[in-house]
């Protein structure tokens, strides 16, 4: 290894999976590019609207999936891109403006310092009080318990889609990442890898545009699917 490599600034990719986010994606991309020197990648998950062109206009690199793969498949495309292009860290953030851009350094800093493999932004840490519906709170408690039971990780916000990962997890996730509702599942993968995880406080805004895509049926499916994959993953070989 060339000694000067140690002084090269780390290459960070901010990855935004987007489906029908044409109204909000431009502002999110623009504000990230304005505040940080990082590359911004939008993975357009087969949106029928102008998500792709809006993201491009705001200066993001855009990958257009030819069909809708769902959130896990879209995020994994970003992992593959980061892996192929040798990024040192990846921050995943939503394209609807719900995640606070200012919190990016918070999730990134422990990764760049080499203190964690994954840092997850939690709505439930710190000052900000996140308001949620009763089924959602129930779901979150259920997943917290599940994650703690199977992995020993103590997490407050197991479904958070705002996180940063290092090179090691970028490489692993580019070949293994759950297709749908991947965040909770990812904990068991990280546990099996012996990854070091940490949570940091993150603010969460009300959505600026559009509606949450989760319906009651989705929520039930989510819980069943995640529980099943926790049990399966506990007995499956990984590699």
């Amino acid at each position: 290894m060339n000694p000067s490599d140690n002084y090269a600034p780390p290459r960070v990719l901010v990855a935004i999976p987007a489906y029908r986010e044409g109204k909000s994606i431009g502002a999110v991309v623009a504000s990230i590019r304005e505040k940080f020197p990082y590359d911004v990648l939008v993975v357009n998950d087969g949106s029928p609207d102008d998500t792709s062109s809006a993201a491009r206009r705001a200066g993001a690199k855009v990958l257009d999936l030819p069909c809708n793969l769902g959130i896990g498949g879209a995020v994994q495309t970003a992992f593959i891109f980061a892996n192929n292009n040798g990024y040192d860290a990846l921050v995943r953030i939503d394209g609807d403006g719900q995640h606070e851009i200012e919190d990016i350094p918070g999730v990134l800093e422990p990764i760049l310092a080499g203190n964690a493999d994954a840092v997850i932004g939690s709505r439930f840490l710190g000052e900000t009080r996140y308001r949620s519906s009763i089924p959602r709170i129930f779901g979150i408690h259920f997943f917290r318990l599940l994650v703690n039971l199977f992995t020993g990780y103590r997490v407050t916000d197991p479904t958070s889609g705002f996180f940063a990962i290092n090179r090691r997890l970028i490489e692993f996730y580019s070949s293994h990442y759950p297709s749908d509702y991947p965040e909770v599942d990812a904990y068991i993968l990280m546990h099996r890898l012996g990854a070091r995880t940490a949570e940091v406080p993150a603010r969460m805004h009300a959505r600026t545009e559009g509606k949450s895509s989760i319906t009651t049926f989705d929520a039930m499916y989510y819980m069943v699917k995640v529980t099943l994959s926790f049990i399966i993953n506990a007995i499956r070989r990984i590699g």
């Binding site: 855009v62 257009d64 999936l65 793969l69 498949g73 192929n84």
Partner: protein, 115 residues
């Protein structure tokens, strides 16, 4: 041969011939034909060999032997469906990979064209 046996011989022969013909015309891949062929062969044999059917159904505790034919049929259908679920999962995975690679390649092409 009683009527139930005759009916099941006719149906299993028809299925056997149909599946073989589909494979011959390459409308059905060999790997997806194996379970269909095995199922229709087993039913055909048990319909012709009445004494085997009686022996097997008694061993399984079934009083009316033709019922055993239904059981065999249902078992093969279950096997075939499980086989399909596995095949679909594999296709799903391949399809996802290809969509991802396609998105990455399109971006590479654009970059080559502009730079």
């Amino acid at each position: 041969m009683n009527r139930v046996a005759l009916l099941s011989v006719c149906m299993s022969v028809a299925l056997l011939v149909y599946i073989l013909e589909m494979v011959r015309r390459r409308r059905l891949r060999e790997e997806y034909s194996i379970l269909w062929l095995a199922g229709s062969l087993v039913i055909l044999i048990l319909s012709v060999k009445r004494d085997w059917l009686v022996w097997l159904s008694l061993a399984a505790g079934i009083a009316y032997p033709p019922t055993f034919l239904f059981l065999v049929g249902i078992l093969f259908i279950i096997l075939i469906l499980v086989h399909f679920s596995i095949a679909i999962s594999k296709l799903h995975q391949m399809n996802k990979r290809m969509a991802q690679e396609l998105a990455l390649l399109k971006e590479d092409l654009k970059e080559d064209a502009s730079g």
